[in-house]
């Protein structure tokens, strides 16, 4: 087993704050939306927690963004534009692993390094999430936080109903994603390997067998 330092401390802090924040936002979001069915908190408390958490996560997102931008590590999210065919092949190979190889005992084709942390599928999905879905969720969340303050922008989008629809659709996506994400996190060489790595920063990787 070799230990690779994959997750620097700012990223680990960001990740766990984000994880906790997402769970809180989902729970309070459900409370706000389904107050007639679920009674965890009052509407007012749910909105208060949701708003506070939202702003914390905005700040958190900024930590992530600045860290990756200032360290130039943001490139780990970007697929290699110069090698699109190879990237496509790698993506298919990774998909085949999750859809077939994992069941027949094939090794994970991707071996993370600090400079190439994500497998091709992770790259696509995290880039989409971090570069578009979360910013959109932040913006629509801000719009809903004070619709009058952002009324001009809301009108550009097509009205508060559209803004809410986008926010709710992303809420649905993130709710489903977080479940899948948690499951995928258990697919390390042990179920807790990836989770431990996100705590310690070190990912344990089986040594390559030389033939």
């Amino acid at each position: 087993m070799i230990r690779i330092y994959l997750h620097p401390i700012p990223i680990r802090i960001w990740h766990w704050i984000n994880a906790l924040g997402f769970i809180i936002l989902i729970i309070t979001g459900i409370q706000v939306r389904y107050g007639n069915i679920i009674k965890l908190f009052s509407f007012e408390t749910a909105v208060d927690i949701h708003s506070w958490t939202g702003f914390i996560l905005i700040a958190n997102y900024c930590i992530w963004l600045f860290y990756y931008l200032l360290t130039f590590k943001i490139k780990i999210y970007f697929p290699p534009i110069t090698h699109p065919i190879q990237f496509t092949k790698d993506s298919i190979r990774q998909a085949k692993f999750y859809g077939y190889g994992i069941f027949v005992g094939d090794p994970n084709p991707h071996h993370p390094t600090p400079d190439n942390k994500f497998n091709p599928m992770q790259k696509i999905s995290y880039l989409m999430i971090m570069a578009s879905l979360i910013p959109v969720q932040i913006i629509t969340g801000l719009f809903l936080w004070d619709p009058k303050l952002f009324s001009k922008w809301i009108n550009l989008v097509g009205g508060i109903q559209i803004v809410d629809m986008i926010h709710v659709l992303l809420f649905i996506f993130f709710s489903a994603f977080i479940v899948v994400h948690f499951y995928l996190a258990t697919l390390g060489h042990t179920p807790l390997a990836h989770i431990k790595a996100m705590i310690t920063g070190y990912e344990e990787e089986e040594e390559e067998h030389s033939h």
Binding site: F103, V104, K148
Partner: protein, 687 residues
């Protein structure tokens, strides 16, 4: 010697000396000796007595006239029974001439017993009246002539005035007191000054005075006025159309009511001497009316005291009643009282241009134009002759509005505004404070609703943000968002039912899209419009119908949207405002799927005058994907959830959860394969 005896001797000497000295005119006439003695003093013209009320009672007696009187043979003491040579003069307190005269008259009954005096009915009536003049007031005292002789000498008028110049009155059946006194000067100066009394008072003369009774003054003047027609023929009286109407249809039965009686003046003389208003009031102060085509009766009488209190007290009648003057009185015909009021109000704009401009924008005029004749005009609120100044009469708004909106007033009186007003807080709002005075607007379900409250309640956004904010920053815009969409009464009238009102707006103008325009675009009428909105005619507009309706209008070129507000449902609810401590603060009242507001949803079309037409919408109309675009400016957390998204959420969560489950199961099921491959690999490595 006693003082009295000395004085008597002196008087006697004076009397005797006068008799024989020839200074006394009594010497030339036949008088009883006793009278001669009295006249010894009383023939001096300067002999007077100061009475207690400061009147000067003349004690002078004209000896020759007395000698000619019917009472010459009667000695002085025959009437002045309390005076004798032994006690005269005595210090006697006399209050007034009236009292003296009344007391002196008592002696008349010595010779003229009551049964004789009552022989003539009118005389009999007179002497039984408590305030009747005494005998001497009418008949005189020392120079009384025999009636038959007196009548031949005196003129008719003077004969009548003998009694009627005194303060006489007659009690009528109605309890009214009919004055019977006549002012001689006014009578002489009147156009009828030269007429004998009997010309008008037919049946009365120096020899005839029938006793008549009347039910009322009105009956009396009607009876008297009949005499006028003896000289003033009907043709002559009906020459002027208004005068003709007056005496035929307006039911002014008596001439004297307008023209007066004994002080009557020639009209050509009267007109220059009176001001226009007085001239008009000559007739219009009396109760009379004119019939209208509708069969109603329009009162034409004007209470002068009311005009004097009005803000127009300095105006001439013709300032408002254009075309009328002392010389002009056109004849007009009106359909009904209401139409008269409406036409009368037209004149107000002549001076009150600004108020009229505002009125032209009001719901009242719009209603009037649409045929609702009950809608208010100027005089309905301000009165006509009683015109009050709104700035000085703050209750004007309340009183005038109550005429039509009484049910709202009873609620207002119990509201925080009404209670404050009853406690003397004059700045507490009245109707006009919110609805305006002249440009009266419908505030319900319009953008005006907030503005009306904000006239007094300044800075409400900041006041509400103290508790209505979204952390972490307290912004007034968040509170403002609520205030823009929720009518103040919705929260400040606790217990009031509420609803969501989706009003059709013109996106370009930012104003409600008028129903009239909708009718034109859809080429239908009001009844047809209902079918065009509620196409399945189930009495509820559903989301698909909302979508179809707005799309249809858009296809016709109308850029419309539905703007939602949350409001109370009735005007009564809108006025039962209470203290802020009792206002609704619980977010769940609105932000919950089962909020009662969202059970009452209406599609609203506003007419050009602001009057809304409500179409009941289905309860779930705001939870449909069809409403997202037509009602794109309205979203309430927890209440206007799109149902489809909820289904999607459940599917996503189930999908998200089933992925690991399926994946794990496959991984378990494929363990033998993995194991076999592992063993194979180990074997290959030779382990």
């Amino acid at each position: 010697m006693e003082k009295k005896t000395i004085f008597f001797l002196l008087i006697s000497l004076l009397g005797v000396s006068m008799i024989f000295s020839g200074h006394c005119t009594a010497a030339e006439v036949q008088l009883p000796d006793e009278a001669r003695i009295c006249l010894g003093c009383h023939s001096y013209k300067g002999l007077t007595k100061q009475l207690e009320n400061k009147e000067a009672l003349s004690l002078y007696i004209n000896a020759s006239e007395f000698a000619d009187s019917v009472h010459n043979p009667t000695s002085c003491a025959g009437c002045h029974m309390d005076i004798s040579m032994a006690n005269h003069p005595q210090v006697k307190k006399i209050t007034s001439k009236k009292e003296y005269s009344a007391n002196a008259s008592k002696s008349c009954s010595m010779c003229h017993p009551n049964d004789v005096l009552k022989k003539k009915p009118a005389h009999g009536y007179l002497i039984t009246q408590t305030k009747a003049p005494s005998c001497s007031e009418c008949h005189g005292a020392h120079y009384i002539k025999r009636i038959t002789e007196w009548k031949t000498r005196i003129s008719d008028i003077q004969y009548c005035l003998t009694c009627h110049k005194h303060d006489l009155s007659m009690k009528l059946g109605s309890g009214e007191l009919l004055p019977l006194s006549v002012n001689e000067t006014l009578l002489k100066n009147s156009v009828h000054g030269s007429l004998q009394c009997g010309v008008c008072h037919t049946g009365f003369s120096k020899t005839e005075h029938p006793l008549r009774t009347f039910k009322s003054k009105k009956e009396f003047s009607a009876s008297v006025s009949k005499a006028c027609t003896m000289c003033h023929t009907e043709t002559q009286l009906k020459k002027k159309p208004i005068h003709a109407d007056l005496i035929t249809t307006a039911k002014v039965t008596t001439c004297v009511e307008c023209h007066g009686s004994h002080s009557i003046k020639r009209m050509s003389e009267l007109k220059p001497t009176v001001k226009e208003n007085q001239y008009c009031l000559t007739c219009h102060k009396h109760k009379f009316s004119m019939p209208l085509k509708s069969g109603e009766s329009l009162s034409l009488s004007v209470d002068e005291s009311v005009i004097r209190k009005s803000v127009h007290d300095k105006l001439q009648c013709s300032a408002c009643h254009i075309g009328f003057s002392k010389t002009e009185h056109p004849k007009r015909v009106f359909e009904s009282k209401r139409k008269y009021s409406i036409s009368a109000s037209e004149v107000c704009k002549k001076c009150h241009e600004n108020a009229n401009k505002l009125y032209e924008e009001s719901i009242h005029l719009a209603q009037l134009k649409s045929g609702n004749l009950k809608s208010s005009t100027c005089t309905d609120c301000h009165g006509s002759h009683s015109m009050a100044k709104a700035t000085t009469d703050k209750t004007l708004g309340l009183l005038s509005c109550n005429k039509c909106h009484g049910e709202i007033n009873s609620v207002y009186e119990k509201s925080i505004h009404g209670e404050a007003r009853s406690k003397g807080k004059e700045n507490s709002p009245t109707c006009a404070s919110c609805h305006n005075a002249h440009d009266v607007k419908v505030t319900a379900r319009t953008t005006k609703m907030k503005d009306t409250c904000l006239k007094c309640h300044k800075d409400v956004d900041n006041l509400h943000k103290k508790w209505l904010s979204n952390p972490p920053i307290k912004l007034s815009s968040f509170a403002g968002l609520h205030l823009d969409t929720i009518a103040c009464a919705t929260c400040h009238s606790p217990g009031a039912g509420g609803g969501v009102y989706l009003t059709l707006y013109d996106k370009k103008t930012g104003y409600p899209f008028p129903e009239e325009k909708v009718l034109k675009l859809l080429e239908t009428d009001s009844a047809g419009l209902v079918k065009k909105i509620d196409t399945n005619e189930d009495g509820n507009v559903d989301a698909r119908e909302v979508w179809n309706f707005t799309q249809r209008l858009k296809r016709k070129g109308a850029d419309v949207t539905l703007r939602a507000i949350m409001d109370v449902r009735t005007g009564i609810e809108a006025h039962q405002l209470t203290a802020k401590a009792k206002a609704v603060k619980e977010c769940e009242k609105c932000h919950q799927a089962d909020s009662h507001f969202f059970k009452n949803v209406y599609v609203v079309l506003s007419k050009a005058d602001g009057k809304p037409t409500l179409y009941t919408a289905e309860q779930g109309v705001l939870n449909s994907l069809f409403s997202v675009l037509p009602v794109n400016q309205f979203y309430v957390l927890g209440s206007s959830n799109i149902k489809l998204l909820d289904i999607l959420f459940i599917l996503a969560v189930l999908g998200g959860a089933s992925f690991p489950v399926v994946h794990i199961m496959l991984r378990i099921l494929t363990i033998p394969i993995k194991e076999a491959r592992r063993l194979k690999a180990l074997k290959k490595e030779g382990k």
